[in-house]
């Protein structure tokens, strides 16, 4: 370990922050991370947080029950605004669900060392976000108990799904994405499960982790095939992660509704997804490293890099907003032009300006290193961006529908209590799962950290 300069000095040195604070050995990283799961007692904070989120999950169940009893009419949706919070939340959650796989797959292929200490819980976050997202397409239907019509199975009616519909594409994209992310996450976990098995303090832990580890021994043959499979998965997950939000964007781009029917959607939806995904990773990482003292592993370098990614994707999103306007006026399509004007001074203009503020203006602060290195600022900003991205989906889904082709049918949308309760419920579910995760599984990939230690010791400290 040769980096001996005190961390805070001239900028050019600070930019060379380590991805792993010096002085760590295979054992030390293993101990520190495994301890969170195996030995550390349940803190009052954890218990409080869990109880709160658990009650929110109950709220979610309550809302769903009432929904099944009464029907989607309990929401604010109407004709012309057939889609409201449900789809907004769906798209938002799916978007968040993109960071994990992106970090673990694309950064892996790009051989970015700094991914190592954040990919594990980023992937977990992905899974939970997808779980939350997956609820909505189901419950937003008028007859959820009939939703199985959307799967291709040989029915006695002799009829099948209609594969030209983007909603069917969604079904396949989301379920594929869920499955692949789960497998990716699990095989990533294998060696760490083995570690936990071998360090388990009691029989129960041994059996549980032992069973999950499937008898992993870390033999050279295992590792060889393992790496091959992991690389392939990464290669597969990369186009997948791009395709998923592309398909989600098709839900809108394929339709003819002004404000939906746009070719820019796929790229800027993907960018937006990564944008919100990283924001959510920060929202989780910052409290996590603080609570469990993982500052050594999730260093300023990570936060700084993620901030930069957000800045970049944020700019792409900004470009997307701009192109929407440009194309509206360039094409001269009177409906698109009208909608563009509606966004600026229609009844929902405030939402649009709020969106610009959250998603385009605020992130510009990230140009400044001072901001990128101010943990508190980053945390706040990540929240702002999450809110902004939610607003973006609201603007797209709702505003476009309020004033489409025939003025006589124009309407407005106002969410009801049940819209909010369902949304907040999924927030609770998401955070609750995170709580369970950090205490049940290693939040950082131990094996990869050991690898990192090895590499660090070899690369003699010049961090790439």
């Amino acid at each position: 370990m040769s980096v001996t300069q005190p961390p805070l000095k001239a900028p050019e040195i600070r930019r060379l922050d380590p991805v792993l604070e010096p002085g760590h050995t295979y054992a030390s990283v293993t101990d520190k991370i495994a301890a969170v799961v195996l030995t550390r007692p349940l803190g009052i904070g954890w218990l409080a947080g869990f109880t709160l989120t658990f009650s929110l999950v109950m709220l979610l169940f309550g809302s769903l029950a009432w929904l099944i009893v009464k029907g989607v009419g309990i929401w604010g949706i109407n004709i012309p605004i057939g889609w409201g919070f449900a789809i907004v939340n769906f798209v938002w959650w799916i978007g968040i669900g993109h960071a994990g796989t992106l970090i673990s797959a694309i950064l892996f292929l790009l051989n970015q060392k700094w991914r190592t200490s954040i990919n594990r819980f980023a992937e977990a976050m992905t899974l939970f976000a997808v779980a939350c997202a997956g609820i909505f397409p189901l419950i937003h239907t008028g007859r959820p108990w009939m939703a199985y019509y959307m799967f291709p199975y040989p029915s006695t009616m002799g009829i099948w799904p209609q594969f030209r519909s983007p909603l069917i594409w969604d079904v396949f994209a989301v379920s594929t994405y869920g499955t692949v992310s789960l497998m990716f996450w699990f095989i990533g976990l294998l060696p760490d499960l083995a570690t936990l098995r071998d360090r388990a303090k009691n029989r129960i832990q041994q059996v549980i982790y032992g069973a999950l580890a499937l008898g992993w021994r870390g033999s050279a043959h295992h590792w060889h095939r393992y790496q091959s499979a992991y690389l392939l998965l990464a290669g597969l997950a990369t186009p997948l992660v791009l395709s998923v939000h592309t398909v989600v964007s098709f839900d809108f781009a394929i339709a003819i509704v002004p404000g939906w029917h746009t070719t820019i959607f796929p790229p800027y939806f993907v960018a937006g997804a990564i944008y919100s995904g990283f924001a959510m990773v920060l929202t989780l990482a910052i409290p996590l490293r603080k609570a469990y003292g993982l500052e050594d592993f999730i260093t300023m370098r990570h936060l700084d890099n993620m901030a930069k990614v957000m800045l970049a994707t944020g700019l792409i999103v900004a470009y997307g907003y701009f192109v929407e306007f440009f194309m509206a006026f360039y094409s001269g399509n009177k409906f698109d032009v009208f909608l563009a004007q509606q966004r600026l001074h229609g009844p929902y203009a405030p939402y649009y300006y709020a969106l610009i503020l959250c998603n385009i203006l605020t992130p510009q602060l990230l140009w400044f290193e001072k901001v990128r290195r101010n943990v508190a600022a980053l945390f706040v900003m990540s929240l702002v961006i999450n809110a902004g991205m939610w607003l973006e989906r609201f603007v797209i889904v709702v505003i476009s529908l309020t004033r489409d082709f025939v003025p006589s049918a124009w309407g407005r949308y106002q969410p009801t209590f049940w819209d909010f309760s369902t949304f907040i419920g999924t927030l609770g579910l998401f955070v609750m799962l995170i709580f369970l995760f950090v205490r049940g599984l290693p939040a950082i990939a131990i094996a990869e950290m050991r690898e990192l230690v090895a590499q660090e010791s070899h690369s003699g400290g010049d961090h790439k």
Binding site: I77, Q162, R164, S165, I256, P347, F405, Y413, Q414
Partner: protein
């Protein structure tokens, strides 16, 4: 969709005696219950009794029984005794139902039995099947709906004894095969569960025989005093038989009197005729023959006797097949926009009070009296109109409005005479009403006598005077002084409460009767179904006081017509069946008379105009609930009113300028918004020493200082649907100002009130939606509708087109003919089992109408212009007198349907004949199709809108159409049930379907023949011919959705003089 089970039961009903559908479980218990009533109702009910009643019931029947109990007054007393707090919630549907369930649970748990697999369902065949009935095949019977001084002949569709749909009777002069919204909706009244169901004496249930005895008792007493103190109050009577019976009664009781009161039909016509001819005559118009028509505040296209026939004749003169066709021209002077005014070529908003002035001025111009100076717009107008009328001597027509004073009518008669129109564009006959009395005076006299205690026995046949009499008569207190009052009415209403006896009145589909049309033609009204409840007709009640008590209505009718047949030169036994079959009695049409004009305009007293800035209050019947008699009709309550597009409420109609002055405004609520909820200022109206609070509605085209108080709302005892909706304009209506009042005051209260408005934004934002032009423009370029918005050519697609080789169903809607009267909307609702969703849901933008009528103002400021909002929420000059156009929008049945492509389960797809099929049972309700529908014609069952519980409503349903449940999308199907049945019949006869053989519900209802449906592939079909016209265009054609429904651009025929001026 298991909920369908019950409905299916009805569809396969195989067991109804001709006209008492005893097969429906719910219904036949109706009878059992009443049977029990006698016994059960003698002691007052207690919980134990209720338990008893419920014990053996289970599952569905259990709840049904509860529902019926709910209608048992004793049960309601019981509730008040046992659960005082909840009982208050009784009137609210939801609470009522929930509460019933609660009650059920607390009484016994029997109802929760029977889960698991669906139990066996039963087939209940007839014991003796009636002749001429084929199961599953509807029969049509001719009858007529009496209404005011008119009766609309109808053909009623009956499925195994259940009347389900009303169609027009082509042979009947008032219908000519079409109907209007009220006629279409009247069938819902038949099945209204809130109807009065028995005879009541002081609220206690009595048998009919008990009433007969009582009646005879009273009769003998009255006879003793020679009929003194015996009064009969009716509405306008056009039933020859009833008049005959009444006259007999009057003969029996020499001192008895017959009074008449129709709250919402003006007396101007009657009194005007007396003024002009010295006696009452009936004017019958022939707008079809008129090239120029001037309406002096007359809504002759949409209300008043004969309006359906008039609309048809008028529309035929708006036919425009080529540049050489000519159009008639319609001028309308009116204070408030009506259907007629909205379809006029020239419309002049004028205070109702100033119309007489205009009429005098016109007379002056025509040299009937000394010239009268007019100012401003009106002056310009006058010249143009006068010259135009004179140009068309003998082919012009001046129509005076129902609610205009006698003078205007007299002037109209004079003007028509001087223009040589009498005999061509209008003719006179004997009055249609059996007894011409001046209603107001007649009622005044009755009230005076009641006050003076001169009335011992008052017989109120129909009507609801307590609610609708002028408030200065204070009918209530006077009625209280009458020893015995007997009220016959379909509902236990405001008046019934103060009457000692209440007899529930039979619906016109339940009883024998007869009625005359606007031209005198008589129709025998025959029942289609035995009375659902213990109800009676006016004939029965009158007979009860005659020397033949208990004489059935049928015998009375038959007796009268046996006499009458002699004069008609027919032998009744031969003619009777034919009369019933045809729905008209031949030879009863009044022959034209030529009364000589005993009136000169000069003889009129000098006119004293009201100051221009003084606010004038005018009373008008509501276009939907009329004088209040339709208040409990959900279809009409939810029907957007033709011009305002308001539902479920009436509102004080204010002109934009006045609104600005009074600072009454609209706020678009964010729930529902333009398509649903608008919050508008509440105002106090102080008028005629009385006060009422109303929501103010800004109405473009309203005369500046004139405000309208629509009648018929604010009912307190209308039933569940109609009670406590809107405000009661009668509360400020006095006998000295029945139609027009002044020196009242309007003061905003500061709070606002949510109104359910289905279309608030009235500007087309420069889109190709409702294409309009003038006759000149049309002649220059018949294809003007296509300018700017060309539909892409068929061949610029990468893919092979689908071909429609067989039938290709299509529709053409002629916007030149449509006058926005709403008949099609209700017809569709009736044909397709479309649920009523209630005000709250309408305010959320969730109404279910499959066809809507959009109303646009073409010369209005647009939202895009940034200047105005494109709605009346802020003033701009274009709102003072905008050009109004209507556009019916059903599903456009696009060939490249955007909705189909996005449905994940293929619940909507194209049929081989080009229909955009919607399969409810496949739909999972993603609502994606609706989002992607550019026309927003799809409707979604956000909640359980359909009423599955009320047995009466099940009888109403059309068995040919699936009843949709919660969570599925629905929309116009081009009445696919009619298409399929038509095709099946044709195929059985091994022949192609004939043009016009299949008629959609909207088409058949339309009075102006604006909607034409047929096979677009057959070049000789009417629809193909229309589609071939250059006027034909597709709504938003540039989207290339290729709608099968296309429109023919509206062409107005303005007077160039006025145009350039």
């Amino acid at each position: 969709m298991s909920e369908h089970a019950n409905d299916k039961e009805l569809r396969v009903l195989q067991g109804a005696p001709q006209n008492a559908p005893a097969h429906d479980r719910g219904h036949d218990r109706e009878h059992k219950d009443h049977a029990e009533d006698g016994t059960l109702r003698n002691f007052t009910l207690d919980l134990a009794a209720v338990r008893e009643k419920l014990k053996e019931k289970s599952g569905k029947q259990y709840w049904r029984t509860l529902e019926e109990l709910a209608d048992d007054p004793h049960f309601q007393d019981l509730l008040h005794r046992e659960f005082p707090r909840h009982a208050s919630e009784w009137d609210d549907a939801v609470d009522r139902r929930n509460f019933l369930k609660l009650m059920g649970a607390s009484l016994a748990f029997a109802g929760l039995a029977g889960c698991g697999r669906p139990d066996e369902s039963h087939i209940v065949p007839y014991v003796k099947q009636p002749d001429g009935m084929v199961l599953g095949k509807p029969n049509f019977y001719a009858t007529a709906m009496p209404f005011g001084a008119d009766a609309v002949g109808v053909l009623v569709e009956s499925h195994e004894g259940r009347p389900t749909k009303i169609e027009g009777n082509p042979d009947h002069p008032s219908s000519l095969g079409s109907t209007d919204a009220l006629v279409q909706a009247s069938i819902l009244n038949l099945y209204d569960p809130d109807r009065a169901q028995t005879v009541l004496e002081n609220g206690e249930i009595r048998s009919w025989s008990a009433f007969l005895d009582a009646a005879q008792g009273l009769a003998t007493a009255i006879k003793a005093q020679n009929g003194a103190g015996f009064r009969i109050l009716t509405g306008t009577v056009t039933s020859p038989t009833l008049a005959w019976q009444l006259r007999k009664i009057l003969a029996q009781y020499p001192l008895a009197k017959w009074h008449q009161w129709e709250p919402a039909s003006g007396e101007g016509a009657r009194e005007g005729a007396k003024l002009a001819f010295g006696r009452n005559v009936n004017a019958v118009y022939v707008p079809g023959k008129a090239n120029v028509i001037l309406s002096l505040d007359s809504d002759f296209l949409a209300s008043g006797p004969g309006h359906i026939a008039y609309a048809k004749q008028y529309a035929r003169r708006r036919k425009l097949d080529g540049p050489n066709d000519t159009l008639n021209r319609l001028y309308v002077v009116e204070p408030t926009p009506t259907v007629t005014g909205s379809s006029a070529d020239h419309r002049l908003p004028l205070k109702a009070g100033d119309i007489e002035l205009f009429a005098r001025a016109l007379a002056g111009k025509l040299g009937l009296n000394s010239p009268v100076p007019l100012s401003g717009e009106a002056a310009k107008w006058l010249d143009a109109v006068a010259t135009d009328l004179q140009k068309e001597h003998g082919a012009s027509l001046v129509v005076a409005g129902e609610y205009q004073p006698p003078a205007v009518h007299a002037l109209a008669h004079a003007i028509n005479a001087s223009l040589g129109n009498v005999g061509t564009t209008l003719y006179y006959t004997e009055p249609v009403e059996a007894e011409s009395t001046e209603n107001l005076e007649s009622l005044r006299e009755l009230c005076a006598d009641m006050a003076a205690g001169k009335v011992d026995l008052l017989l109120i046949l129909g009507g609801n005077p307590l609610y609708d009499a002028p408030h200065d008569f204070d009918f209530t207190s006077k009625l209280k002084r009458v020893p015995t009052a007997i009220h016959l009415s379909p509902y236990y209403d405001e008046t019934s409460v103060y009457c000692h006896w209440h007899v529930s009145e039979s619906h016109f589909l339940e009883t024998w009767s007869d009625a005359r049309a606007y031209d005198g033609t008589a129709t025998i009204i025959q029942p289609l179904i035995a009375p659902l409840y213990y109800s009676r007709s006016a004939h029965d009640v009158v007979a009860a006081f005659s020397d033949k008590p208990g004489l059935p209505a049928y015998d009375a009718i038959r007796a009268y017509w046996t006499e009458a047949s002699a004069h008609l030169g027919a032998t009744i036994d031969v003619a009777w069946r034919k009369w019933l079959n045809d729905g008209v009695v031949p030879g009863t049409k009044f022959t034209p008379i030529t009364p000589e004009l005993k009136f000169s305009a000069t003889s009129l007293p000098p006119f004293k105009p009201s100051p221009a800035d003084q606010i004038e209050f005018i009373f008008r019947p509501d276009p939907n609930v009329y004088d209040g008699r339709f208040a409990n009709n959900g279809w009409l309550q939810e029907l957007p009113k033709p011009v305002t597009k308001l539902t479920w409420d009436n509102a004080l109609l204010v002109s934009p300028k006045l609104a600005q002055k009074l600072e009454v405004a609209h706020k678009i609520a964010s729930r529902g918004g333009e398509h649903g909820q608008v919050r508008s200022t509440v105002v106090d109206i102080a008028l005629n020493g009385s006060k009422v609070t109303a929501a103010a509605w800004t109405l473009p085209g309203q005369a500046e200082n004139s405000v309208v108080l629509p009648l018929g709302y604010g009912r307190t005892l209308a039933g569940f649907t109609g009670s406590n909706k809107g405000f009661n304009a009668y509360a400020v209506r006095t006998s000295n100002a029945l139609w027009t009042a002044s020196d009242g005051k309007i003061t905003p209260t500061g709070d606002d009130y949510p109104l359910a408005c289905t279309q608030y934004h009235f500007n087309m934002e420069g889109r190709q939606i409702l294409s309009t032009g003038t006759l000149e423009e049309y002649r220059k370029n018949p294809a003007f509708a296509h300018e700017g918005a060309q539909a892409p050519a068929k061949d610029n697609s990468l893919y092979k087109e689908f071909e429609y080789k067989g039938y290709a169903w299509g529709m053409a809607i002629d916007l030149n003919k449509c006058n926005g009267c709403n008949a099609c909307v209700v017809a569709c609702q009736s044909e397709n089992n479309i649920p009523v969703v209630g005000k709250d849901q309408v305010m959320r933008g969730r109404e279910m109408h499959w066809i809507r009528i959009d109303r646009y103002y073409t010369n209005s400021e647009s939202a895009a212009s940034g200047k105005a909002t494109g709605d009346p929420s802020e003033y701009n000059p274009s709102l003072d007198n905008p050009q109004t156009f209507f556009q019916p929008v059903p599903c456009q049945q696009c060939e490249n349907a955007p909705c189909e492509q996005v449905c994940p389960v293929g619940a909507t797809s194209h049929s081989a004949e080009g229909l955009n099929d919607m399969v409810y049972n496949r739909c999972i309700g993603t609502r994606y199709c609706s989002n992607n529908c550019p026309y927003k014609v799809r409707r979604f069952n956000f909640l359980r809108f359909q009423d599955w519980d009320t047995p009466q409503l099940k009888l109403l349903r059309n068995p040919e159409v699936s009843v949709r449940s919660r969570g599925v999308m629905e929309k116009c199907t081009y009445c696919v049930q009619r298409i399929n049945n038509g095709r099946i019949e044709a195929e059985k006869q091994n022949r192609p379907i004939r043009d016009g053989e299949i008629v959609t519900a909207c088409e058949s209802a339309c009075p102006s023949e604006a909607i034409v449906f047929g096979n677009a592939n057959d070049p000789n079909s009417r629809v193909a011919k229309l589609k071939a016209q250059p006027r034909n265009y597709s709504l938003l054609g540039e989207l290339n959705a290729r709608p099968r429904t296309t429109y023919l651009a509206a062409v107005r025929n303005p007077n160039l003089e006025l145009e350039k001026a």
